[in-house]
Subunit: 468 residues, 2 copies
């Protein structure tokens, strides 16, 4: 197939982008329900190929079968979710102002809705070879919006990318969409060449801050800047208040440690920073330590990722303001690490994301100390608050700070697990994202749309959605 490639040459890439432009014309003008039908067909196709896809992904990612199975279920759920989003016209944000006289003069008939931006370049994540890669949320939201997608193949799971692209392309074709609705490209310099191609009208990226920065710099070289939607790193602070720590210490400690180590901590919503009261927090920390010490070291997604984790953990451990609660790993594999420091004297580098099963417990002596630390937090995807009713007065003050820092506030729960839903927000202030939109769930479709207004249009000129 011409629209799938491991190592795409410059001339092939140009042809891919040209075909994406042609597909954009088709998708934009076709009935939107055709896209919904195609998304459902793709979900069915993924489900029917689940066994072989999971096996391919297992072989190249070091993720387990059960985890990959859940991930693929999430992926087809997501396809069906966006099929419903497209069928329901709400996402088009239709508005209609009738003609009338105003203090500014005569108001004409104005009808507004959202239209597709055009071809989207998608850079998926290494840690989710399905749900945040080729058949993932960015691809599906873009196609739902009516935008063809060119995915840059992730080098850590090339075969999974190619096989899942083949499944989607076949399903789209059978449902009547162009094969070029989805194309896959690969190669070292291909990412840069892709984002500077004039056919591409938006870019999504899930990955490291440095990778995101490099793409933003390439985009800045274009004659026409295009939107870049990055999800770039998050420390996901958890704040445990006193009454909650006193009454549910063990439960909270258990949940925190599980959330911090699930999938070997390689999740964008992994809670790296945990603020625990000095007085009544020992039960929380004791239980966290108990869970940590019971977990064996696991393989990282890649050796390079494991090495980065080990180096960052070592750098934190040598800081005098930090105490290690877990012991040094005895093997070369990277074990879950629990560190502790004080809210009154901690190194700034705990604010840098460490991708992996690291948690840093920050003990606070006073409310003032806690507030000072929270105000200095970087932007994150999530913040989590454990607060009983008796904590509510302090909790409301904490919330006024947290609301400026994150895209999702979790109450008395844990941040890992991001539901695909209408009211979901996955994306907070920089560096967790650079956008004013969610990258998971129904509203993430808005990233690939822009408004247009029809003024005084005769009925024959109006699109169906605007009342033809």
């Amino acid at each position: 197939m011409t629209n799938i490639g491991y190592d795409t040459s410059k001339s092939e890439l140009a042809a891919v982008c040209e075909r994406a432009s042609v597909a954009a014309e088709y998708l934009r003008r076709a009935d939107r329900c055709a896209r919904a039908v195609a998304l459902r067909a793709a979900a069915e196709a993924l489900d029917s190929q689940r066994e072989s896809l999971v096996e391919i992904a297992r072989a190249e990612t070091r993720l387990g079968e059960a985890r990959l199975d859940r991930e693929l279920a999430r992926t087809s759920y997501q396809l069906r979710h966006f099929a419903s989003v497209v069928e329901n016209a709400d996402y088009l944000e239709v508005l209609h102002d009738q003609p009338m006289d105003t203090a500014m003069g005569a108001q004409p008939d104005l009808r507004r809705y959202l239209v597709a931006l055009g071809p989207v370049a998608v850079f998926g994540a290494g840690n989710f070879p399905f749900a945040f890669s080729v058949p993932g949320g960015d691809t599906v939201a873009a196609v739902a919006a009516g935008c063809p997608v060119v995915v840059k193949l992730h080098p850590d799971h090339p075969r999974t990318s190619i096989e899942s692209a083949a499944v989607l392309i076949e399903a789209f074709l059978a449902a009547g969409l162009p094969a070029d609705t989805l194309q896959l490209v690969g190669g070292l310099e291909t990412g840069r060449d892709l984002v500077v191609n004039s056919a591409i009208k938006a870019v999504t990226f899930t990955g490291s801050l440095s990778g995101g920065r490099a793409l933003m710099e390439a985009i800045a070289e274009r004659d026409d800047p295009i939107p870049f939607f990055g999800e770039l790193g998050s420390v996901n602070p958890v704040i445990v208040l006193r009454a909650a720590a006193s009454t549910r210490g063990q439960e909270i400690g258990n949940g925190l440690a599980v959330s911090g180590t699930v999938d070997n901590g390689q999740l964008c919503t992994q809670p790296q920073l945990v603020y625990i009261p000095s007085e009544v927090g020992d039960e929380v920390v004791d239980e966290m330590l108990r869970v940590f010490t019971g977990i064996d070291a696991q393989d990282f997604l890649t050796d390079a990722g494991g090495a980065r984790y080990a180096a960052k953990v070592a750098d934190l451990r040598i800081d005098k303001r930090i105490t290690a609660l877990t012991s040094f790993p005895s093997s070369s594999r990277c074990a879950p690490t629990l560190l502790t420091t004080s809210c009154s004297n901690f190194p700034q580098k705990i604010y840098d994301e460490v991708f992996g099963p690291l948690q840093v417990v920050v003990r606070y002596d006073s409310d003032d100390e806690l507030f000072t630390a929270l105000r200095a937090l970087p932007g994150s995807l999530t913040a989590t608050l454990h607060a009983d009713d008796a904590d509510s007065q302090l909790a409301l003050q904490v919330l006024t700070v947290l609301e400026t820092k994150v895209g999702r506030l979790v109450f008395n729960g844990y941040p890992t697990g991001v539901m695909v839903a209408g009211a979901q927000t996955h994306g907070g202030p920089w560096p967790s994202s650079n956008s004013q939109h969610s990258s998971v769930g129904a509203t993430s479709i808005r990233r690939f749309l822009r408004p247009i207004t029809y003024q005084s249009a005769p009925s024959w000129a109006l699109p169906a959605e605007l009342g033809r």
Copy 2:
């Protein structure tokens, strides 16, 4: 007053931004209806000071009294419009997903709305000293959203800026908002220093492509990139189809020439390019020429602007593919200019915006010629289509191209005159804007908001808008 300055020093600017951050805390947490009351109070205050404000603007802008009077009416209309937008909670985009079981597992209670971004830097336009400057749409939409504003004073109307800022600040204060809700800064390097200040969370700019580029480069140097909403230049094509040209030639020609020369053509929606059929278009062009030759040369907003216009017109006139219909101006003032060229052989530079009363008539011999030319058009704020029912088949094809090029499609009318309304879109593909949002009307508020989701929040933790 400390929050108004002609020439702001670096230390003063730092203090201004710090105060804006403090005001942001207040505005974000205050009842949103307090903002609506303050916006209405500001409208009243502008209306009551209309005579003196118009006189100050007349003295420094070369715009006439009647025009300034209309502009100020638009400005207070806009304030009242956004007061209504804020009172009605629709702009908060509240969504609520109930807990339920799904194929992905248990869905928690998710409640989502939009929150204010924080302090906004506003760079106004020279051609609208009220409606697109200190008390203009960007300021008002940002304050409506709950964001304090720091306006960079426009050097072409400093006194107007200062006086209108004083009126707004007093009205905001009297209505209970902080004085620092609106601050005004000035000076040569101040614009750059403003957009790199970490307190600033978004930037709006209305002006030249080069000015917008310079601000985007400054923003790219920040540790945390912030959204830039630019409105940067537009040629606003008008396409006249054959039946319309045959049956309404004189009417269309008259309207086009008036729209092209009103306010001396110094409007962002001025229709610079006019596509007229070769066969049946003479009546349109004859009438345009009649109107053009009856208009005396007028002063530009600034001598520099007039010189730029004269240079760009001269550059077009010397091109052999272009014929001048109007004669060279006899005085040093810049007269309205009507040029004509052929759709089959025209210079690319007609696609560059010429700010002033220039129209270029592009005659097309065939539909193919027209389509080829339209596909090559740059992005614009508007496109206008004159089409009778007999033209509807060709018109629908033309629309499929125009819909990818602009933010507003005007039918059988003229693009100048941008109504402040809910369904308005002012902003199209690059270079007309770089954003996926309108910069005029109710939905322009979305530029200053981002989503946040409350997951499993107890009722005491919910903001009123999310159902506390």
